[in-house]
């Protein structure tokens, strides 16, 4: 199960933080700080997995952005790595060539896309097209 998803830039600014387990606000800030510290200086040749407290952080870097998923210790690391990539592809498709600024100004849309992709800490939809279409339908409702 995914415990939380973080999207941070290299300076450690949080661009998206989604928690599927309840945490205190102060604890969330601590977690964000610690995860950033863990991933930001790792050698790109190293594994994309870091043990974090009693869980595991699966992270992947895209330009200046770090996508980190905190998952259970027994979860399939490679699958979540693929999962991050799929999410990035969806964002890329949706914003056509996504960059950090898109995510800043449209943070609420990023959350909405995420809600179509992952729910209750589990994968909801694996088809890029289905998610993009769904987003289109939702936009039409507004």
């Amino acid at each position: 199960m995914i415990r939380f998803i973080l999207l941070q830039n290299r300076q450690g600014k949080t661009r998206l933080a989604k928690y599927y387990v309840p945490l205190e606000e102060s604890e969330k800030h601590k977690v964000e700080y610690e995860v950033h510290r863990l991933v930001v200086n790792r050698d790109p040749k190293f594994t994309n997995f870091v043990e974090f407290r009693t869980h595991k952080v699966i992270y992947r870097r895209y330009a200046g952005l770090f996508f980190s998923l905190c998952v259970d210790i027994t979860d399939n690391e490679l699958a979540y790595l693929e999962c991050i990539h799929l999410f990035v592809e969806i964002l890329d498709h949706f914003f056509s060539n996504v960059c950090e600024l898109d995510l800043v100004f449209n943070f609420h849309k990023v959350y909405l896309i995420l809600d179509e992709f992952i729910l209750a800490g589990e994968l909801q939809e694996t088809s890029k097209r289905a998610i993009i279409e769904r987003m289109g339908e939702l936009e039409k409702q507004e």
């Binding site: 949080t14 661009r15 998206l16 933080a17 989604k18 928690y19 599927y20 309840p22 945490l23 606000e25 800030h29 050698d43 040749k45 190293f46 594994t47 994309n48 997995f49 870091v50 043990e51 399939n76 690391e77 490679l78 699958a79 790595l81 693929e82 999962c83 799929l86 800043v104 100004f105 449209n106 943070f107 609420h108 959350y111 909405l112 809600d115 729910l119 209750a120 800490g121 589990e122 994968l123 909801q124 939809e125 694996t126 088809s127 890029k128 097209r129 289905a130 769904r134 339908e137 939702l138 409702q141 507004e142």
Partner: protein, 881 residues
């Protein structure tokens, strides 16, 4: 109106915040925005409510407090508009979580939205419920979610399935309601629904055994079919990831099959074919394929697979292990840990590769590999493996050394084939990473050395050599200093030279040099210094010519700022200066430390009491407690201090001469009592020896740990008799009270009592204490020739109608009075004056005639298991006591 169309103020606010150059500027902007939003909230502004909430979400993401916006979410959710609802739910998920009370207010809105005719609104509600629902909400809304599982819209269906996962995680009792619909979901074609359904089934299996059995019966075929369909499906662009159709579905369904097949031979049997197909046919040149293979291997290991299939799985892991991609190597190591329980031999084959992984530059890989190596070690391969690990210790990164050292030490202790090898390896580790070695590890080494009489010479010489090259490794220094102190003459005289041991010439003054260096070294901590000091003292007896020099070193330490060292130096100086005649017996070699006691102690070392009476326990290992006999009275005090010096659990000298009395009597004192013995000095010991069976508390009789009065306690409550800490003990030994003569006198009194019973003056009895529930009377007897000493017989009567249990009488007297309590006749006091408890107190008034006796008393007991406490002061003692 769309709150997010360009030109609205959300965008402006983000721009303004981004334009800030300093954190202070940013705070100012945020403060201003928050003030405006609060104002809008208090005016109940409706037009901009959703925009304000969107801004709050951004502010929240920056880490500022936004709790004041929580109610706004609820208002937006309650509105009829889709866009407002959407922002409301988004805010709900971001700003609130399941623990907030406010969330209870939203249950009703959620219920309405779950029943809404607009499927998009139902979707929003399901999403919010799935992400933040609490146990109460789960119970309230489970029927709605269950109904939505039957919906025809796949979007609703998959969301409802995932929502159900959250519900049964919160309330596992609800699992049974969901088994039927969940099994139905596996027949769907839509991948989103399938993947959600498969996950729901997996979670149901975890939540309840009943569900597991149901699903095993109804879904095994279904899951196999899903896997077959997806792995055989032709190219499907919508789900394609690097040439594989929907690897995510593959992985989820493999996981479900693992749950279903675990411990069930029939279900596993059905799965063999398809698992073999996936394991052999899946492309392994891309991450997606490897992810499937990895999951497949785990499933094969998890279920009752055929041995052929297991070989296939282990081979896949072998391939993974030699992969150049670190991620793949990491998962291989991870999985080999699980495979080890299934097939240790197969894992052993990859030993050398795994060992290489321990040396990887990536900490994640190293950590996994080290865990795995630790599993792989056995009697046959321990030697080469340890060598490899120790070699690596030299070059490993600082932050990895602690883990590595702990594992190596554990391996050496567990599998060492003989003592020589053990000592050799430990010395290597100590020289390489002595600063990372835990205390119990080098303590164990000392115990082993102490037991290996034929290796002591070799060990001390090796340590001497190691010390030359690694003087910075704290625990190496400690062990070396201890061994040199104990076995110094073996170092100098080359006793017990082993084959192949290089020649070494060490003079007596060389040996003193290294210990002095350890004492003086800037990085040595107090324990190392204290050990060095003892070692020097011992060397002064081993090497008489160096005595003068050692005396000088010790003299120098007399001015140490560390109290402990200063005190020891003064004592040791006194031994060297004034007690030449007993020095050699005092400084004899430590008796052999008992290994089994040590192991036991190590196991129990987590006890809280442990730190308090380390000394007593340590000394009691090997030989029974060394109790100085009466003859050695004068020397006993320094000896006691010697024992005390082991404030860090160091085995120290005990004079064998003093053991005999103890051995003779064969007294087996409990360790707690023994520590009390060590603490309070000679005279007590004697008393204690002779009054076996009295509670250990009485050992504290003479320890003046109270400034105004000395308190004596009797009774069987262990907490009262807990021994003072080692530090406190050391001080007490110095204090003049400790050598007080009274207990000895008491003992003699007991003897003289019989012959001189005639001329006792008599005193009237008094009622010392009376309350509604309790009466205490004192009767007095004096012994002839001892006017200062009074025996008081206290008698307790219960006036109430309830029986008192756990009765405990305590008394305190002024400083000039010494008090001794004997055990009470009972600790149960019957009701209504139906019998009484008696207890004898012995009081010595050192200022008889000048000051009158006074006593403060405290009585604790239980009535119907309720703790009661009474206290009072006794001032009406007769004259002349």
């Amino acid at each position: 109106m769309n709150p997010f169309s360009s030109g609205t103020r959300l965008r402006d606010m983000i721009r303004a915040i981004r334009a800030c150059k300093t954190a202070a500027e940013e705070r100012a902007v945020v403060r201003k925005e928050c003030a405006a939003i609060r104002a809008a909230i208090s005016e109940n502004d409706q037009d901009y409510r959703h925009r304000n909430l969107a801004k709050l979400m951004f502010i929240h993401m920056l880490g500022y407090p936004t709790h004041f916006g929580q109610m706004e979410c609820l208002k937006l959710i309650a509105s009829a508009d889709f866009p407002e609802k959407r922002i409301g739910y988004l805010g709900l998920m971001l700003l609130l979580d399941e623990r907030q009370e406010v969330l209870m207010l939203v249950t009703n809105s959620l219920k309405q939205d779950l029943n809404h005719s607009n499927q998009f609104i139902v979707g929003l509600a399901l999403c919010a419920l799935g992400n933040i629902c609490s146990a109460e909400m789960a119970r309230d809304l489970a029927p709605e979610v269950e109904r939505l599982l039957q919906s025809r819209d796949p979007n609703i269906k998959k969301k409802a399935a995932l929502c159900s996962i959250r519900i049964i995680r919160k309330v596992p009792d609800l699992a049974e309601n969901f088994m039927g619909p969940a099994a139905g979901l596996l027949k769907e074609k839509h991948h989103g629904v399938l993947i959600a359904g498969v996950q729901l089934c997996t979670d149901l299996c975890k939540a309840s055994t009943e569900a597991l059995q149901y699903l095993r019966k109804n879904c095994t075929d279904g899951s196999i079919r899903i896997l077959r369909d997806v792995s055989n499906s032709p190219y499907a662009p919508e789900y394609d990831i690097s040439g594989i159709t929907d690897p995510f579905l593959h992985i989820r369904v493999l996981k479900l099959m693992r749950m279903l097949g675990q411990g069930d031979a029939d279900a596993s049997e059905y799965m063999n074919d398809i698992l073999a197909q996936v394991a052999t046919k899946t492309e392994s040149n891309k991450n997606a394929g490897n992810a499937i293979l990895y999951e497949c291997v785990e499933t094969i290991m998890g279920i009752e697979a055929t041995s052929g299939l297991r070989v296939l799985a282990i081979n896949i892991l072998g391939r993974f292990l030699s992969n150049r991609d670190n991620n793949i190597r990491y998962v291989a190591l991870n999985m080999l840990m699980k495979a080890f329980t299934v097939d240790p031999q197969a894992v052993q084959r990859h030993r050398s590769t795994i060992l290489e992984c321990v040396k990887d530059s990536d900490a994640s890989i190293r950590k996994r590999a080290l865990e795995l190596v630790y599993l792989l070690v056995n009697e046959t391969n321990v030697q080469p493996l340890t060598k490899e690990l120790i070699d690596y210790l030299e070059v490993s990164e600082q932050e990895f050394k602690e883990d590595l050292t702990a594992k190596i030490c554990s391996i050496i202790e567990k599998y060492s084939p003989d003592k020589l090898w053990y000592i050799d390896q430990m010395l290597k580790v100590l020289s390489e990473a002595g600063n990372y070695v835990k205390d119990d590890v080098w303590h164990a080494l000392i115990v082993v050395v102490s037991n290996a009489s034929d290796l002591q010479g070799y060990t001390v010489r090796s340590l001497y050599r190691a010390l030359q090259s690694s003087p910075e490794q704290e625990s190496l220094v400690r062990v070396a200093v201890w061994c040199i102190g104990e076995y110094g003459e073996m170092l100098v005289n080359n006793v017990g030279v082993l084959d192949g041991e290089g020649p070494i010439t060490v003079t007596e003054s060389d040996a003193v040099d290294v210990v002095e260096a350890a004492l003086r070294h800037h990085s040595s901590d107090i324990t190392t210094r204290a050990m060095s000091l003892i070692s020097l003292l011992k060397l002064s007896s081993r090497f008489p010519p160096t005595t003068e020099r050692i005396r000088e070193i010790i003299t120098h330490e007399k001015s140490s700022l560390l109290l402990e060292l200063q005190q020891r130096s003064i004592e040791f100086h006194a031994i060297i200066q004034k007690h030449q005649n007993i020095k050699s017996s005092l400084l004899e070699r430590m008796p052999v430390l008992d290994e089994s006691t040590y192991v036991r102690k190590k196991v129990g070392s987590s006890d809280a009491a442990f730190s308090a009476d380390k000394t007593g326990q340590r000394v009691s290992s090997g030989t029974p407690v060394s109790i100085p006999n009466g003859v050695a009275k004068q020397q006993a005090a320094p000896l006691v201090d010697l024992l005390d010096l082991s404030s860090d659990d160091v085995p120290v000298a005990s004079s064998s001469a003093t053991d005999f009395l103890n051995d003779l009597l064969g007294v087996d004192l409990p360790s707690q009592s023994s520590s009390g013995v060590v603490s309070t000095g000679t005279t007590d010991l004697l008393m204690d020896l002779l009054s076996i069976g009295t509670s250990p508390a009485q050992n504290d009789l003479l320890s003046p740990d109270n400034h105004t009065s000395s308190v004596a306690t009797s009774g069987k409550i262990p907490s009262v008799s807990s021994p003072p800490s080692v530090k406190g003990v050391a001080l007490e030994t110095k204090s003049p009270h400790a050598s007080g003569p009274s207990p000895v006198l008491d003992l003699l009194d007991g003897l003289s009592d019989m012959s001189f019973s005639a001329e006792n003056p008599t005193f009237p009895s008094i009622t010392a204490f009376q309350s509604n529930s309790l009466k205490i009377t004192f009767t007095f007897t004096k012994q002839p020739g001892k006017p200062q000493v009074t025996q008081i017989k206290a008698s307790f009567t219960n006036m109430s109608s309830n029986t008192y249990t756990d009765f405990l009488f305590q008394a305190a007297v002024p400083k000039f009075v010494q008090l001794h309590l004997d055990p009470a006749s009972s600790n149960i006091l019957p009701a209504s004056g139906n019998g009484s408890i008696t207890q004898t107190l012995s009081v010595t008034n050192t200022q008889l005639g000048q000051k009158a006796l006074a006593m403060r008393i405290r009585i604790a007991y239980k009535v119907n298991n309720q703790d009661m406490l009474e206290q009072g002061q006794v001032n009406n003692f007769p004259q002349g006591l």
